[in-house]
């Protein structure tokens, strides 16, 4: 049974291509809002999206999307879904507005509504000026945006974005991520953003599902997964920092790096912040600032896939 806030759920899903298992007994829940699907190439992210779309039939397991069974009602699901594929995809011989309107009609929109929506979404994704150009003349960044437009034209309840920033320059990438963030936050479109780029997921999503070698290795709100470590602290001191650092190291604490006047100190169990203060007092150093340091999504990813 899906919780009301879950837009997609996989229960013990296994997908194999011949003898290669792309997904192994995967259990995952995608909450509403923007969810990142993170993992290295070959982790099974695209396969998972295709399985949720009903394009790949799993060997075992059950999947529900928008509270509908993927095996039983794939067409109803796809009517409410927008899919932006990873590969460069278009329908040959069309200009942008015809292509997007055509996709709208395929998704069930009447032709006049589809054409009106095509103009609107093309403006929204920043292709308003180029909407009468043939798709074959588009640059890589424009092709990525047209793929987003065709996924949006029928106003889906859930968007699957497979590597949406692939091949884009930094400005185009920022624009695409801003669009994704806007869709999730202001337009109430739920989305799953599949990417191998940590900053993209961190910038656009609230939740993350981390995959590696066909399995889910971490799943939850990014803030919670990163969490305050409680052991890594940032502090600023008044006094001789070199002597203090030496004393910290002698006490078994690690100081991986320091930035300007801010020290990052790793305090191993069972030591705590009280020990930091006591050490500072003994060294005649005044602690002016102390706060637990937040780990980055990169740390979460590295921990989840077992990297050093």
């Amino acid at each position: 049974m899906s919780t009301p806030s879950a837009v997609a759920r996989l229960d013990r899903v296994t997908v194999s291509y011949g003898t290669n298992a792309a997904l192994c007994e995967v259990d995952a829940v995608f909450e509403s809002g923007a969810v990142g699907l993170l993992g290295p190439n070959g982790a099974g992210k695209s396969t998972m999206l295709k399985a949720l779309l009903g394009l790949v039939v799993p060997d075992r397991g059950q999947m529900r999307v928008l509270d509908l069974d993927v095996a039983r009602e794939p067409l109803k699901i796809r009517a409410r879904l927008g899919y932006m594929p990873e590969t460069d995809s278009h329908i040959p011989g069309m200009n942008a507005v015809s292509f997007v309107a055509y996709c709208g009609q395929l998704a069930g929109l009447p032709s006049t509504d589809a054409m009106r929506r095509a103009h609107e979404v093309l403006h929204y994704v920043g292709l308003g000026e180029a909407r009468y150009r043939n798709l074959e003349t588009y640059s890589t960044g424009m092709k990525q945006r047209i793929k987003l437009a065709q996924a949006l034209v029928h106003d889906p309840d859930l968007l699957f974005l497979d590597e949406p920033t692939n091949g884009m320059d930094p400005a185009g990438r920022d624009h695409m991520l801003a669009l994704i963030r806007d869709l999730a936050e202001r337009k109430s479109v739920n989305l799953i953003l599949s990417s191998h780029l940590l900053p993209d997921v961190e910038q656009a999503c609230d939740h993350v599902v981390v995959m590696d070698r066909g399995t889910v290795v971490a799943n939850g709100p990014i803030a919670e997964l990163k969490g305050p470590s409680g052991r890594l602290y940032e502090l600023r001191v008044k006094g001789d920092p070199e002597t203090f650092l030496r004393a910290l190291r002698e006490a078994g604490m690690e100081c991986p790096d320091s930035e300007d006047d801010t020290l990052r100190v790793f305090v191993p169990e069972p030591l705590g912040p009280r020990d930091l203060f006591q050490l500072a007092e003994r060294q005649g150093v005044q602690v002016r600032h102390l706060k637990p340091s937040l780990s980055t999504l990169e740390d979460v990813f590295a921990r989840a896939v077992g990297e050093e």
Binding site: L55, L81, Y83, P85, P92, Q105, L106, L109, H154
Partner: protein, 279 residues
């Protein structure tokens, strides 16, 4: 200040239920092809034999001394055979790119991520070719019947040969179905429409050449079943209540034709997928 909000807005209008997308595919395909002058020229040219036959009917009706030209059931069968050339050309020109171009542009993933199944996608593509092929076979043949009635001023010929209406429909339908499914199956095998066209021409021409070679070697026409065209001719003779022209049993010709249709469906079932799995 903008007078129209060009931002993204939620859609509150009507949506069609899944099941009508094949018509969207078909209509978009037909419309884009009709915008090409070459297609219009080809279609116009395909109606030339109709004009010749119409003149023939006019002469036979108005000049009794050339009763040799009077239409019979054979006239309509021969007319449909004459149209084989145009069926061949239209099939290659319009049919070859139908799936191959989509495969080249990775469009299958886009189509099949919409609320339509693989069968509906194929039905849409099939409908495009069906429309054009029926336009060069069934429509002119039926129009000839109408011309005969109009020129003679009576429905006597049609009433006497009422079977011609289902016969024309059945033979046209069979030709069109076979050509459409075969080219679509071949189109699903490649990303190059040129290659697909050559492959189709090869199947049609090579199978007939093989039959002619066997005919020359054996002195009989029992090997007609190896030729796609000969099989259709043989079945066409039976449909038009005419003596079969080859020694091959017509049932065998019908079975080979059905086998080719079945093979095409199997190929389409295996090849039209959003995800291509190479193991």
């Amino acid at each position: 200040m903008p007078i129209h909000d060009q931002s993204y807005r939620r859609y509150r209008g009507n949506r069609a239920r899944p099941g009508a997308a094949w018509a969207v595919i078909a209509w978009a395909g037909i419309r884009s092809l009709l915008a090409r002058r070459l297609v219009l020229a080809l279609l116009a040219f395909a109606w030339m034999p109709f004009l010749v036959r119409a003149v023939q009917i006019y002469l036979s009706v108005n000049f009794g001394e050339i009763a040799l030209l009077a239409p019979t059931a054979e006239t309509f069968r021969d007319f449909l055979e004459q149209q084989n050339f145009f069926v061949f050309v239209v099939t290659i020109y319009i049919g070859a790119p139908l799936i191959a171009d989509d495969r080249r542009a990775n469009a299958l993933a886009l189509y099949l991520s919409k609320p339509l199944g693989r069968a509906e996608y194929v039905a849409g593509k099939l409908a495009i070719l069906f429309a054009f092929l029926l336009f060069v076979t069934w429509l002119p043949a039926m129009s000839l019947l109408g011309v005969q009635m109009a020129f003679s001023g009576s429905a006597e010929f049609v009433a006497r040969n009422l079977f011609l209406i289902p016969a024309i429909t059945l033979l046209s339908g069979l030709k069109v179905l076979l050509a459409s499914l075969t080219i679509l199956a071949l189109s699903s095998l490649s990303t190059s429409s040129r290659y697909v066209g050559m492959l189709y021409a090869g199947v049609i021409i090579f199978s007939d050449a093989m039959f002619q070679a066997l005919r020359g070697a054996t002195g009989g026409s029992t090997a007609a079943w190896v030729s796609v065209i000969a099989n259709l001719s043989q079945v066409g003779d039976v449909i038009f209540r005419l003596p079969a022209r080859y020694d091959t049993p017509w049932l065998l010709s019908a079975l080979v034709t059905l086998g080719l249709l079945g093979l095409s469906i199997v190929v389409l079932e295996r090849r039209v997928r959003a995800v291509e799995v190479i193991t």
